[in-house]
Amino acid sequence: MSDEHRAPSRLKSRIYSALVQRQAQDGPLLGLTEVKAHGQKLCVFEELVQVSPVGDSLKRTNYCRVCHARVMGENIEDAPVYWSGCPYAQFQNR
C-alpha cells in the first residue's frame, strides 16, 4: 500500500486514544492481569502496575492517558516510541 493510502500514525494514535477513553467512560477497562492472561504484551509501565500489590480498579485504569508516548504518538508522525507492548509504538509506519 502506498504511503498516500496509509493512515498517518498520528491519526491511528488519536483514534486509539479516543476509543479507549470512550470505553473507559462506558465501563471499566479489562484489568491488566486479564489482558496479560490473554497472552498479550504489556508495556513496561503497565507491567509495573500489574505486578504491584494494588487494587483491581488501579489495574483497570487507562495509564496511556498520562503517558508521554501518547503525546508523542498523537503529535509526531513516526514518533520515536519504541517500547515493546506500547500501542503508540505499534502504530508507527516505519
Binding site: 493512515a7 491519526l11 483514534i15 479516543a18 476509543l19 470512550r22 462506558d26 490473554h38 498479550q40 500501542p87
Partner: protein
C-alpha cells in the same frame, strides 16, 4: 458465515481457543476445522469480543488492522477535502464502537467497517448538497455535445487518476455530487431523498456538475 456465528459475539471467547501471537488474533486449529466456519470470521469475532470486553491491546489491534483501509476509502471519496479525512475516519471508529455489539460476523469485519465509512461519507455529501443551492451559477459553462460517458470513466482504472484530478479542481458541491452519483452509484432519487431536495433539483445540479467536469476534462 461461521455456523451459529450470530449471537456469538458476546460469548465467542468461551467457545473458541484464542491466542495472541505477535499482535495477530488467531483461532485454534479445532475451530478452524469446524464445518462451515471461516477462520477469518472466527478471528474477526474473537477480536470484536475482546474489544467489547474493553481489552486495550485488542483495541490497539483493531485500530492497527483497519485504519489503513478506512483511511484510503474515505480519502478517495472526500476528494478534494483532504482536511476532513482524519475527523471522518475517527468518527467511523467511534461509531463502530457504539454498534460493535451488533456485529454478527455475517460479513468480514473490514466490510462492516467500510459500510459505516460509506454512511459517514454520504453524510458529508448530504450536507454539501443541501447547501448546493447557494452555488454561484456563473461557474457553469454549458458545452456543446462533447460526449463523455461518466459511468465508463468511473469503471476504467487507467482514467481514474485523471478523473480524480479533475474532481479535485471542481467546486466542492459538484465534486461531491458526481462522486455520490457515479462512484457510489446512487440514483438522483436516492440523493434527493437523502438531502431533502427535489429530484429535479438534484438532476439540475448533476447536469451543471457534468458540464463543468466535461469542460475541464476536454480542455
Amino acid at each position: 458465515m461461521c455456523a451459529g456465528a450470530a449471537g456469538l459475539a458476546n460469548t465467542i471467547s468461551g467457545l473458541i481457543g484464542k491466542h495472541h501471537t505477535g499482535y495477530r488474533w488467531t483461532v485454534d486449529s479445532t475451530h478452524e476445522t469446524m464445518p462451515g466456519c471461516d477462520p477469518s470470521v472466527a478471528a474477526d469475532l474473537a477480536l470484536v469480543t475482546a474489544v467489547l470486553q474493553r481489552d486495550r491491546k485488542a483495541t490497539a489491534e483493531f485500530v492497527e488492522s483497519y485504519a489503513d483501509a478506512i483511511y484510503a476509502f474515505v480519502r478517495r471519496r472526500l476528494t478534494p477535502r483532504y482536511d476532513l479525512v482524519d475527523d471522518v475516519v475517527q468518527d467511523v471508529f467511534l461509531a463502530a464502537w457504539e454498534s460493535l455489539s451488533k456485529f454478527r460476523g455475517t460479513s468480514p469485519l473490514k466490510a462492516w467497517l467500510l459500510g459505516i465509512a460509506r454512511h459517514k461519507v454520504e453524510d458529508h455529501y448530504r450536507k454539501l448538497l443541501r447547501a448546493a443551492d447557494q452555488l454561484d451559477t456563473e461557474v457553469v459553462e454549458v458545452l456543446p455535445a462533447a460526449k463523455v460517458d461518466l459511468e465508463q470513466i468511473a469503471d476504467q482504472e487507467r482514467t481514474e487518476q485523471r478523473a480524480r484530478a479533475v474532481l479535485e479542481d471542481l467546486p466542492e458541491q459538484y465534486s461531491a455530487a458526481l462522486q455520490w452519483r457515479y462512484w457510489e452509484k446512487r440514483s438522483a432519487r436516492q440523493m434527493a431523498e437523502a438531502t431533502g431536495r427535489t429530484e429535479k433539483g438534484i438532476e439540475r445540479l448533476l447536469s451543471r456538475a457534468r458540464d463543468e467536469f466535461r469542460r475541464r476534462w476536454t480542455e
